[in-house]
Symmetry: C2
Subunit: 370 residues, 2 copies
Amino acid sequence: MASQNLRTPGPTPLPAAVREALARDMVAHRGPEFAATLDECIRGLKWAFQTEHDIVVLTASGSGGLESLVPNTLSPGEPLLAVSIGYFGDRLASIGRAYGVDVVPLRFEDGQAADPQAIAEQLTARPDIQTVFVTHNETSTGVLNPVLAIAGAVRQVRPDVLLLVDGISSVGSVGVQPEAWGLDVVVAGSQKGWMIPPGLAFVAISPRAWERQRRAKLPRMYFDWQLHKKSAEEGSTPWTPALSLFFALQEGLKLMREEGLERIFERHRRIGQHTRQLLANLGLRLLADPRFASPTVTTAWVPPGVDAKALLRRLHDRHNVVLAGGQGRLAGQILRIGHLGWVDEADITRAAKALEIELEAAAGADRSAA
Amino acid sequence: MASQNLRTPGPTPLPAAVREALARDMVAHRGPEFAATLDECIRGLKWAFQTEHDIVVLTASGSGGLESLVPNTLSPGEPLLAVSIGYFGDRLASIGRAYGVDVVPLRFEDGQAADPQAIAEQLTARPDIQTVFVTHNETSTGVLNPVLAIAGAVRQVRPDVLLLVDGISSVGSVGVQPEAWGLDVVVAGSQKGWMIPPGLAFVAISPRAWERQRRAKLPRMYFDWQLHKKSAEEGSTPWTPALSLFFALQEGLKLMREEGLERIFERHRRIGQHTRQLLANLGLRLLADPRFASPTVTTAWVPPGVDAKALLRRLHDRHNVVLAGGQGRLAGQILRIGHLGWVDEADITRAAKALEIELEAAAGADRSAA
């Protein structure tokens, strides 16, 4: 069976070397083989995150990494400015509320980026806020937030605020510079640009975030970053790690090093451009403000009269092409195409060709029904 | 390279069919392929857990599954009777304390089982306790608790108490009957008897536990059982699942069904017996009370004068045999041999032969040093 042209914004397809690594037999997770793997993974992650900050690897999906932000940095009732430009930004606000944090939401319209000035104003109005969360790349709308500008505006008003960043669908595909940009914590997820399966979350933690962690009082154990750091220094993890995914990560990072970071970032920019062009050629209206269009995910409105769910099903059943639909209030209204990780222009061209055929068929059906 | 004779109590070796499943390419986690996989996994797990209770699958190690017990069943300050017979029982007590639960510890000596009568007495003395935790198989000492007798004693004193069971290194290898025995929640971990890698935790949840969950107030999101149940009804998971491990689970369960549950349980009993016999033949003193010796893990005291760490290293370096050492206060004092999952007598015989050679070498070195 020909493998799927899987173009969701994660999981993403796996190169052969990664699949071979996944098939490796187990080793002891407290032995020298795993210690070497863990060390290589953490060094590779630091390279891709472009940081010297500590990085911990959690056996959890990206949402687990996101959740870890809350109990590791906050105490009950403490305010958190939760900047959101979509579904995943909203999710962090929900997590904060579930933990009893005083969530101060700052929501921007779907398709738009966050406005650095509005964030700075909110911080000026609420001098008690010591923690800000922002999404780098919003996977639900295909918008890349200007995190450098946001961090700059935040630091101008409040130099010591803790800045938490969801980099799940950006880091590894888009350049991030935690130190230079002043990002205290950056979270990433394995099933995105890393070309490996879901199940690991990566968290880069600044010295200021470590200091904050020491007085953060919300309950944590499985997601406690300090326990992971301490174990990593001994070549291990506090809880049995998902070994197969670490083997895969080791291979994924090797492939990434062979390509080189700048070339990876350039490839994602180029394919993002290519994807938007193809969708525009099909007459689709894009959701994301073009100034902030994401290099990893593109979203487009489903044309009026077309059933989004049926369209996705036909792409799957007839063309072996898998795209994603909208989430939350965008469900049924948009299509999402992932173009991150192991992807080139031809993959997207083939997916767009299938989409063209099915959009034409849907338009024809619509006409004959009318 | 010949693969290791990996005899730790998890991770355990992987059969070829499982390794092939791990190497499968990704599919969309909101699509029909994964829905079918998830459904098959949950049906297979219910078969192995011998239960009609709901089962949720968490992308996390067993420790994550264990942690999920606390926020899903308890509220801040509520008492929890934490029965412990070793390191992993103690861990649950630590998790409870980290979450602000009023942990009432009831610790039995390493190597001993929990005394049902002592548990009943504690419940009589503390009528405010509504939740009891107990380990089924304590992986750190190789003791199988008499959970049926414990549950009976608990129910006699307090019919409605919520009984939480760590079945991480028992379920799938040892018979457990949640309904018949009156166990409200039972947790298992993928890297044990299931012949697949670490990274998934399975939780079987009784109607009484669901009722309790609705009023449990500790913060939870990633580990919220209800979100997993709701998503599973729609053929999905609330957070991106570790797809590769689900593919592996599907295969592992197929292999288990081919062998049959009773034969699996009998094989583990037989190999446990075989392991204890071989270690006794080597003159090693076993830690576990023989009346409660585990069918999945055997522990033995390291003979006086033998450096446990060096012994384990020589077994690894010279024989490609991997055993585990002691944890917590037993570190450096005991050896642990895992005999669960994909294992037969010959695997253990080979490991014991290597152990014999190295114990003799260590005794010789000790004599010449004296």
